[in-house]
Structure formats: structure tokens, C-alpha cells
Symmetry: C2
């Protein structure tokens, strides 16, 4: 069976590595010649909307999936008329527009922060009394890792923040004074079976995920699963989905969801019985989903902008290196390391060492 | 860094899958066009002793390793004069001749069964009073999974058994009435650091490994480690080595060793902190070795001659499928499945289910 993937970055790379043992083969479409997944399948080199390449992909892949959510709607639509596409174009359409996404959350009773659509400076100014300070201004589409977002602290910030968006449709969101940032990774297969991983507690800096820790038996697990279930059902979703949440005084507020495998679930490679990458594949090729039980205590540390020294990581017992075959560049995720061990105390020690190593090469 | 592998079968495939996260790339030399490791690196297609291909491999690989031990001595020698080769040609030379191997074991005080070299029917007949009945006649070189071996139960068996060998140099070995067959997987890196996995208890049928179970805290662990240490040191070994042993009334007797990753260590992918495949790579590229601690309770079941039904395996929680991308053929190992879980009781249940599934498609 051949799985087509739009994108050949580190997520595609890790999906492919999880897929070989299942007997799957891969074909990637990606405009970058030195993509991370190179060597793990055939690489169709070109733009995501190149009609000839899309036709090749659709013809040759038994099922097509994505490693990023900003796939143009017509591309997803074209593929869906020619082959199986998971997750569905609808899930993509919701995820790739922050306004539609927030509205969708609210429609299915998943709470979010206050928000308002903003198409001009005047609209932004008019919205602020309702939204309150501080707030965050974001483009409705595109952008990840906090790129292109502005924090609004007072009326003085509004003109510059608006100008930065260069007129694209935007959304302003009330800032959430959260206690914790968490995410839940869920998988739903073609048969409609659903599994959830233990929550991940996520630490961001400068808008970029730095550390994600598996939280077994977390008190918020049930509420998060309930939200994720509504989302999966409403979207008739197939594949892995990551729902990012804020915890505020024991209540969860949805931030956003990613219709794909997610950085906050990378610890599942070692730290769960079945990784998010394998379960994404099982979901889309119609296999029973694998157990999501935590295996020991685990966490993941990202390396941003600078490569880890392999021998230093390998020298830490119970640390696992994951290089993405990427050239280091400012702000770029080039690798992660997972720690997996038996006790929370030992885990904390290893994570501390990994964070120091990540800090040494950090260029974010 | 580019790792060259002689052979592109399932062992090379699993080595490559373990190597991508370490940032390694692979180049395989294998005469089979549809080799298992296809798609995971560059494939030099041709015979192992093709001088042009060997030269290409030697020039382009930073280090060369093997997935099987019957590499012609001159091939290993040629490679070693052009690039790093691990394990060393010496380890290969010892492992690929059963007489040299047994003698080597005895020279470093590792006990074996009684044995004698046999180059004619007369020599075989002359050796039997010392060896005793029953015994096993094997060619000194080649052969695996019990192929080309004859069990000798009485003097009547000798002429036919000898004829079967077609005149190749042979060895006759006393049959060992063992309590258990076990193996120990060890790794030694360039710096001389050594790690051992928990023992594997191995169940063979018809000369082919069927089930291997991780035995944490086994009473024989220390004795096995002591033998393996002698072997690794005497060979100045770099890489993963598997030492197969018989347990006879609380004593261990060496059967043979494999200078490579080994079928009885496949459970380490899920069942150990670092897999044998990753530790083999760490050893030969001069990285610190990874922890070999058992992760839960685990075991592996081979699928011989017939492919498992993927959905059946995936439907067993805590079972992990490993397909080799091989066309089924009588006696051929085409896949394995690992079971990993928290309790020995649950492990036994899963293994039972896997053995039933393997039995249904068995063609050995």
C-alpha cells in the first residue's frame, strides 16, 4: 500500500519511519529539494498545487495525507475526488482559518477565549472594549510557531500591529492567563474507533514549543477527551488530531487544533505503546488503532536553530535522539530528544540535561 | 555520515530504520533486486564480491558493516583496507567456520559440546565413539536455520549424512540435552564500552527460531555476560554480537555466535530502552551506547513462510507488527511481531495469540 504525503518535512519523515514496519511505502510531494523525508520514499519535487504532480500523487497513492494544515482547499478537493484523503478537506478548511476554527469550537460547545474578526484598524479598535487587554492579533490563515502575531497591551499598540498584518483578514483574541498549556493527541480510524494519548503538558518560549511532557492520569484528561471527542465526531475525522488547550483554574479552553501529527506528541515514539505516527497511519489505512498507554515517564525537548551534539545526547542514558536531517537556521526545529525512564525524578534530571544542551545551540 | 551494509535483508532494513533518527544515511550492497531494505537508502545491485561495487561502497561509506556473517574473507579484507569495517574481518573469519569458532570458544574458556573436524566418512566414523550419540553433522561453513545439518542417531545414519554434505569440510558435534536455549545480545563500541541486554529465551522448531522472550533478571545472566565479555575482548569486537547458548543444569554451553544483530534480539525494538539495531549503529559510528534496560515484559514471534494478517496483529493491543517487505516462500522469515506489556501474564496471553496467528500461515 502506498501512502502519499503532502510535505516531506520532519513529520513526514517520522510518519514514514513508523510506516515501514507496517509494510507501507511512501510518496512525498514537497517543493524543497533537501526535504527531511528524502530517502524514505519517492519525492515528487514541486509546488503543492502543481496539477501534474498532484495527478501523479493521486494516481499512485492509495491514500493521501498531510503533514501541515495549510494545504490549499482546491488541492485537497482535487485529491479527494481522485483518491482517499485523510483527514478530510473539511477538517483542513476548519483548521486553517482561525475564525472558522474558533466558531466551530463554540458551535460544538468547546469553550475558547473571547475573539472577534478584524478586517480593518477601525474594526480592531471597535472590538477591543469587548475583548479586553491584553489581547493577541493574528492573521486568520497561515502562520505557525507564533509567527506574525502581535500582543496588544494598550490602544497605542493597535496601529503598528494592524500594519504588520498588511491588510490580511485577521482575528483578535483575548489573552488567556493560563495555568498550563496542554494538548491532547487523539486518533480516529475509518471504522470510527477513537483512542486518546495521555495529555501532554507543553512549555513554549517565544511562541515555539520547547518541552512537552507526558502527563499520565492527569486530572484534566477526561475534560480534554470530551472536547476532542466532540471535535472528531463533528468533523467525521480520520487520522491523528492534536487539540491545544489552556488550563485556567481547572477548566480547559481550546486554543487551536492541528489536523495532523503534532510536535507535542513526539514523546509518543518512545513514551507510548504505539506512537502518534503509527496510529495516524493505522487510522488512515483502516487498521485497528494501537494502544496509547504511557510507557514509563517521558518528555521531549526540541532543538531550535542549532543541532544537538549527537554524542552528548547519546551519552545520557534513557535519552533518545531524533535528527530531522535539516540545515540549521534561525527558529527552525532541527531535532528533538526524548527522555523515557521509570521515575518522574529521573525524568526531570534527564530533561534538565537536555534543556541545557538545547539552550547551548538555541537560535530561535 | 553514510553507513554501508553488505546485505539488504530484514536486518539491514531494521538497522536503517533505527539509523535515520541518528542522522545516518545508508548504502546497501545486495544481489537481490527486491531486497527488504529497498527504499531506505541507495542500493548497489550485484554480487558481494563484485570489485567495482565494493570499490563504490568502500569509497562512499564512512563505515561498513554486515547483516550476515558469510562475507568472503577477501571481501572483508578489501573493505577494511579502504574504510572502517565493523565488526572486524577477524570476527567474521571466526564466526563463519564452525570448527574455528568452537576452537576459539574453548581457547578463551567458553565451554562447548564435544566436537571433531570431519573431512571424510572414515573420519566421521572414527570420531563417533568420542563424540557419542546422538550427534549433529554440519558443514564447517555456510548454512543457517539448521539448513544442511543431519542428526546422527546410530552408525547407520553416517553414510547418508556424509553424502548430504557433498564432500565439504564438516564438523560433528555432540547433541546437547539442554534445558533451555538462550542467547545474549551484547554491544561494544569503538571506545571499548560494553553493554548487555537481558537474556533472550529462544524456542526453535525445525531449526528455525519461533519465539524469543526477554528474560529480565535471569539467573544465567551473569554467566552469559562473562562468556560474552571474553568473546568481545578476544575479538576486539565493535558492534552488536549475539551469543547463542544452551542451558544444561544451571551451566551454559556455547552453541555459536553471530557477529551481527540477531533474530533473538528483535524484541529489543520495543522491549529495551535502546534497540539492538540502534546500539549496533552507535557502536560502529563511535557514539556512547544506549541503555539496554528492559521496557516492560516483551517477546517476539516469527512469521515463517506466510505473511501475517496485518489487521489481526494490529487488533491485538500491545502487539507490534514488523513486516520485512518479502515475498512469502517456504521457510522464509517474512515478518515478526513483538508483544510488550506490563505483566508476564498479559505477555503470555498475547504471545499465545501471536503463535496461533503465526501457525495459521506457517510454511516452514
Amino acid at each position: 500500500m502506498i501512502v502519499g504525503i503532502l510535505g516531506a518535512g520532519q513529520l513526514a519523515r517520522m510518519i514514514a519511519l513508523a510506516g515501514y514496519p507496517l509494510g507501507l511505502k511512501f510518496i512525498f510531494l514537497d517543493p524543497s529539494k533537501d526535504a527531511c523525508a528524502n530517502g524514505l520514499g519517492e519525492h515528487l519535487y514541486g509546488n503543492y498545487n502543481d496539477p501534474k504532480l498532484l495527478e501523479q500523487l493521486a494516481q499512485r497513492a492509495d491514500v493521501v495525507t498531510y503533514e501541515f494544515e495549510n494545504v490549499p482547499a482546491d488541492v485537497a478537493g482535487f485529491l479527494a475526488t481522485h483518491t482517499q484523503v485523510h483527514p478530510s478537506p473539511k477538517a483542513l478548511a476548519v483548521a486553517q482559518d482561525r475564525l472558522i476554527e474558533k466558531t466551530f469550537f463554540n458551535d460544538i460547545d468547546i469553550p475558547t477565549s473571547r475573539y472577534a474578526p478584524v478586517d480593518s484598524l477601525e474594526e480592531l479598535q471597535a472590538a477591543m472594549p469587548t475583548i479586553g487587554w491584553p489581547a493577541i492579533l493574528k492573521s486568520r490563515t497561515q502562520g505557525y510557531d507564533g509567527k506574525g502575531q502581535s500582543v496588544l497591551k494598550s490602544a497605542d499598540d493597535l496601529p503598528a500591529a494592524w500594519q504588520l498584518l498588511e491588510g490580511v483578514p485577521a482575528i483578535v483574541e483575548a489573552f488567556v492567563a493560563f495555568n498550563r498549556e496542554i494538548s491532547i493527541i487523539a486518533a480516529r480510524n475509518i471504522a470510527g474507533d477513537v483512542v486518546f494519548y495521555p495529555l501532554s503538558e507543553n512549555l513554549h518560549q517565544g511562541g515555539i514549543l520547547r518541552v512537552a511532557t507526558c502527563c499520565e492520569h492527569d486530572p484534566m484528561q477526561q475534560q480534554a477527551e470530551s472536547y476532542a471527542t466532540r471535535l472528531l465526531t463533528a468533523l467525521d475525522y480520520v487520522g491523528v488530531l492534536a487539540l491545544e488547550l489552556f488550563e485556567v483554574n481547572g477548566q480547559l479552553i481550546a486554543n487551536e487544533f492541528a489536523p495532523r501529527v503534532h510536535n507535542s506528541g513526539h514523546w509518543t515514539i518512545e513514551g507510548a505503546e504505539t506512537s502518534q505516527f503509527e496510529n495516524h497511519l493505522r487510522a488512515i489505512v483502516n487498521l485497528p488503532l494501537g494502544a496509547t498507554t504511557a510507557v514509563g515517564k517521558s518528555a521531549m525537548v526540541n532543538f531550535i536553530g542549532g543541532l544537538p551534539e549527537s554524542d552528548k545526547i547519546a551519552g545520557i542514558a534513557h535519552a533518545h535522539l531524533h535528527l530531522y536531517d535539516k540545515t540549521p537556521r534561525k527558529g527552525r526545529k532541527v531535532a528533538h530528544a526524548t527522555a523515557r525512564t521509570k521515575s518522574s525524578e529521573h525524568l526531570a534530571e534527564i530533561v534538565k540535561q537536555l534543556v541545557v544542551l538545547a539552550g547551548k545551540v538555541d537560535n530561535s
